[in-house]
Subunit: 205 residues, 2 copies
């Protein structure tokens, strides 16, 4: 055994496909796995296959779903007049965790980035336009919650122009950028500070 | 989707069984997995099952093996008179990586630790004694390479006494502890330094 056994080496290569997993972590995972019972290891493998098999994109919002349409889109309690546009499912989950937002979502699955070949047609932008323009649409506001990055801003701008070009366009808003709650102004970066100034509102009270 | 979909939640729980994987890492793994093709995900699951299925303990040294006896134990080129006793397979692999050692191994699969219920009978100590005492044994030296911890030291002491109690006991040695090569004496802890003093040898040249 001058090198690791081939099946273990193969498994290390596989684990390394996971984000942030280097050779050392992968090797630790493999050894832990060898200590597990056969049933436990099978459970992990089955959970991987099951997640891939049973989870797909919702045909309305492109979030994750086990069925054709996801629970959020089906939820009659939610405000169907508002759609929050996010770059990825993770952001959608973050919004859900806040429990403040009760509208619907639209997941773009990326942001416009010509440098890396992500053009608007690679994203779920046409599908957003269709949702908004649909004859039975009740959407009154589209909240753009793309990331405050060059790509995110470009995407927000692109969608804004696109939606505004149609008659009866809904209200299009962008979430506020500013000083994070609990953050200290002293340590704020200039861009955030200038955004916070730009977005200032009348002080209440 | 006020919470994650059940299949994804299940997979997160499974990933968390891996060492050092918390909720956040597990979630990142799950999302990467969802981005993979079905074939890629199946490859990972299959590699897990295959590793468990095809790797077992060598019946001689209790290292990892795909067959009854591992390649190291079968290797006729190796020095069959020396057995290096280690706590786990990882240590065996570390020794192999050094490529200095050409003898055989014996993996104990742990160290004596009465506090956590690891008594000598839970380790491959009886199997080591049998190997040493076997009629056809050519073992002339047993190198104890347990960890420099209370458990490792206890285990080394226990094995030493046990093997010495038999007639024709082989030479029993313990690997040297001292200042790591490249380490600075200034920063050495007291225990290591006292071990380094204890183990001093005549200066050559």
């Amino acid at each position: 055994m001058s090198e690791l056994l081939p099946p273990l080496d193969r498994l290390i290569q596989q684990f390394r496909k996971l984000p942030g997993v280097g050779r050392k972590s992968a090797q630790r995972y493999v050894f832990r796995l060898l200590e597990m019972s056969d049933a436990e290891a099978a459970e992990l493998a089955e959970a991987i296959l099951d997640a891939k098999r049973s989870v797909r994109h919702c045909s309305v919002c492109f979030g994750l779903s086990q069925d054709e349409v996801c629970p959020v889109c089906l939820d009659e309690e939610r405000d169907r007049t508002t759609v929050c546009v996010v770059e990825d499912v993770r952001t959608m989950l973050t919004f859900e965790r806040v429990r403040e937002y009760r509208g619907l979502y639209h997941v773009l699955h990326g942001a416009i980035s010509p440098m890396t070949g992500v053009t608007p047609d690679k994203l779920k932008i046409d599908e957003l336009v269709e949702r908004v323009k649909a004859a039975d649409s009740v959407i009154g506001e589209v909240i753009l919650a793309t990331n405050p990055t060059v790509e995110g801003e470009t995407t927000a701008l692109y969608i804004t122009k696109l939606l505004r070009s149609y008659p009866n366009a809904p209200k299009i808003t962008r979430i506020a950028y500013g000083i994070p709650v609990g953050g200290e102004l002293e340590y704020a970066d200039e861009l955030t500070l200038s955004r916070a100034l730009e977005g200032r509102r009348n002080s209440e009270g």
